[in-house]
Symmetry: D2
Subunit: 337 residues, 4 copies
């Protein structure tokens, strides 16, 4: 079977596994107070050129979003998110479980735009409504698209105009930052948002995400919030060890670039055979349109997920490449269509 | 000034105020355990012909919705509501504050339909999504419309098909049940929903709502929930006293009918002058369309609220009659247009 | 029956009821934005000599405590309270329902002391523990005692030392401030706490409490919090009307003084007959010790609540006077013992 | 340095690490729906002889307690726990963060007794109080003690008498079940509680706990709750892989027995030198009493945590052995005293 179902089913990249093995019997203090976490945090601060950033490692993406938003918001605050946002649809109400409404913004491509913020703000005029306080965007998005520097800057300016915070879910930040069309630099991030996370789970880690908080006021007592939400693991150094291995010499971004490169090869091959895409290919997630018969036929040899069915005759499926996808898998897929 | 702004700005109907005055120095146990509350609850059970119904009095509408839904749901459960629902937009996230997501259903007229339920359920397939567990509808709706018996029956059947509970916000139940086009009877309610509330605040009470819980399993420990959400007032009998005064000989519904009758007179007069309505008039809330100039002119003599502006030239305003609206006010308004 | 059971079973004082009646048909904006609420708030600011105080009216005590604490705290913050505090035992976990732990401090007399704060703080050293952020005290306490100015000042200094906020539940503030042994002045309150509430329910109002927030940062967006917790009633002016009637010319404190005066007469009479008290009488709640036989005998003619039974032979009962208690009731009780 | 500080600072047992390495590149479905988790769950059901038990793997202890209690309780329910319970003091209010009060029971040795339950229940008589619904105990306790079968049976009977659920935190279940004085069998657990967890983090796993839910009604929709609380990791099989490795041929309990055996050797050696214990040694945590000077001296060569200081002259420190503690470390410690 050709595996193009997701980018989180493999375990850790062998280098990461090796680092875990090498440090397995090392004795450190628990709960993330250790030289590995400190070292990885420092690597991140340098990488984004932001010495005052606070880095907190967590074990999973939903946990990271939930902990961060719960930490940043007061009870009456809401979150503005594109309706395709992970927090809107794939977290079983984790944000609402901490008491906060999400203002879903209908979207066709999964991206939030400044005018969407205007529209939400216009509808939330007084104390009978929740008070939007932060925007949530993903880069790359759940639809595989990226934000340009200009787009992020426009969102940021709109947020500052309304006094909104900006939060970026970077579950697939490695792929976003290495996409062929990307013009964002790592050192732009601290200027364009208040907090973001660097996703490990979908790019080489066994598990783990690095929440990076730029804004000073939002850093206060974060460890209390992490512990309270169940996100502080006893052997906290496991996260530092993994991120050190991943971030050394930009290895993390090489993994993202690999996924993107094979996705591009896949997309080019699909296009060459005359197929269209529901969403233009930009990163490691593709949404090609096939006839329903073709989709059924592909299922015999390929693992993938269905996505949406825009017409009577055609269906978009989701193909995902990862650091572990091989040229052979791509070639094999292209032979099938 | 002609007051057509809302149905909750007057105090209590004089009969209700008299009942409060008559019983003011009566000493009873506190927190709603008293003969007045017991008596009013019994009146409600008889009125809806449902001896097993549990009646809990609360002080306000948002409090009632919040307490009921928090009591009925487990943490991962969500509420399906038309996007115009009071819980969606006018309660500052009170439902989310208890941990529950609301699945907003886009709507043009404020009503929920069985196919809306199908659509929401189709999108919530597994544990990565919240689990819809109840529908929230208002009767009459925030747009002034009512549900026919056939419509409510179809919703109920759809709910039972999916194992969803049915909850009706009756902030304006008096107006719904006495609307000229209504074909629902009070004794239909226990068959068509699991819980509903009878709104006092908008129909003659100084304050207070009566939550009626039909389904046995949902009745358990309700007083604990009420107390925990801050809704149990020391002088609980105030609520029983008011509801006894309101419900005696159907007086509550006479008040609703009065509001509807004057609304109809107003609507007929507006139509006769050639104006249209954004939403067809059915109860005590009207949404006539005027030119923007006319709207500004009206503001000089009439208190009302803006609502939506469907075109370049016309605007729908919201006119609301109540038990206290007079023929003279209606006549005066009609002279202005 | 002689009624000495509580101070919240009567309705409104006739003056308050009259004010409600007089303004019943007045049309104002809803939700507490009206001249009555504005006027009452201004009276409070003048009374406590604190022009920058923010006043928010709410309908009940538990609701007030819950809303205030939820507004003031971040998710990991806890509340330090004497274990007899209303929030600890008589609010069905209303504070925990908003996500906050209460650190119960064992107490024999219901009062918190600076050394209690030291003890709690010593146990909460890092992020594995909740972070105490506020103290909750009642004045007068649930045991009928008051804090002297020196005691409150010492608590305040201890709070400032640790960066803790100070909150005073004033459900019975009228009785506290008019107790014979009281040396606190109203204008001391803004200096000795960050927020407190003036209880109406237990002293002449039909219902209602006035939350007074001194500290500027805590005032932000309070109306959002009130609405979200279900505490914003449509006819918000009812609260302003009542508090204006109560506060005019210090009438509220006259009512408290009346309750205290009759309690003192009762206490003196009980002492004169040779009975002791479990807690020394200071305000309108008394805890005299009787033999169990005497207690049973009293139940035939007096309504009161049991409290605690410190010995094999004697039991402390709770006797409560109110603005409505009469000399005759006190005399009649004294004849029974 | 001799490491006797805790049992969670080492990484995974080499056998567990090997299993993770062997399966690292295996592709399975995510989120715990995979043959490894299924297999490990089946091993647990067999081990406790309870085919109807539901097993849910989670990543950490606080997360497990929080998710389980949130899943089992309605909003007004509270948890009865000894005041030393992990949920009381070391989880930053994780349980309260889900809305539930914990009724702390003062304890000298960390164990709950049937009369403690009676005392709590007697104080929670009506809807003005939270409603205790479950007891939380740890076996072994945070003080290193175990419950005998008779003790657990008495607690269970008391719970059933009041309709309370029984939950056992088994962070150190391996040590409890292999303690020399233990008389509980694994197959007793399903009869003596409604849910418990098998702790991996403190006994050989890299991370991970297995929540075992016996009572059918409590099993419903658990995966929704896990996802909502942030506890569902993408590579869910990591947990199944580890537990399969740990549970095979009782290896997990061998690790616990090893820790206990070295603790006993340590305790015997300490006793032989004439020192006393604050709490009698039963499992892998010891609380020997030393003079303060001795404690300071020990810090130069041993890593351990302070605990409590019962006298002017002596202090109890906490010594913890684990699966990784060596004979040499024990011998070296004994030489130091």
């Amino acid at each position: 079977m050709i595996f193009l179902k997701n980018d989180y089913s493999l375990g850790a990249h062998p280098k990461v596994l090796q680092a875990l093995t090498d440090t397995n019997m090392t004795l450190t203090d628990g709960y993330g107070i250790d030289p590995f976490c400190d070292g990885a945090a420092e690597m991140i601060r340098e990488m984004i050129d932001c010495p005052e950033a606070y880095v907190q490692f967590l074990t999973a993406g939903t946990q990271t979003n939930q902990t961060a938003l719960a930490a940043f918001l007061r009870p009456h605050h809401s979150v503005i998110s594109p309706s395709t946002g992970h927090v809107c649809v794939h977290e079983t109400g984790a944000i609402e479980a901490t008491g906060h409404k999400i203002n879903h913004v209908p979207t066709t491509d999964g991206k939030l735009r400044p005018e969407d913020i205007d529209a939400v703000m216009a509808e939330h005029e007084d104390e009978h409504y929740v008070k939007p306080a932060i925007i949530y965007i993903s880069n790359s998005t759940e639809t595989g698209l990226i934000y340009t520097k200009a787009e992020l800057t426009a969102l940021r300016e709109k947020c500052l105009e309304y006094g909104l915070l900006t939060y970026i879910d970077g579950a697939r930040l490695a792929m976003a930052m290495t996409a062929p069309e990307n013009d964002l630099k790592l050192e732009d991030l601290p200027k364009l948002c208040d907090a973001f996370y660097i996703g490990g789970t979908k790019c080489g880690a066994m598990f783990g995400e690095a929440l990076v908080i730029i804004k000073k006021e939002l850093q206060e007592d974060i460890r209390w919030l992490v512990k309270q939400r169940g996100g502080m693991i006893a052997k906290g150094r496991l996260l530092g060890v993994q991120f050190q291995a991943l971030l050394k010499d930009g290895f993390y971004f090489e993994l993202g670039a690999h996924a993107n490169r094979l996705a591009k090869k896949l997309a080019d091959g699909i296009s060459a055979k005359g197929y269209e895409f529901a969403i233009p290919p930009q990163t490691n997630m593709l949404f090609p349109l096939f006839t329903k018969e073709k989709v059924e036929e592909l299922r015999e040899n390929v693992m993938f997920e269905g996505w949406q069915y825009p017409s009577e005759t055609h269906a978009a499926i989701r193909l995902v490449t990862s650091w572990g996808t091989t040229e052979e898998e791509v070639d094999a897929f292209l032979k099938l269509i």
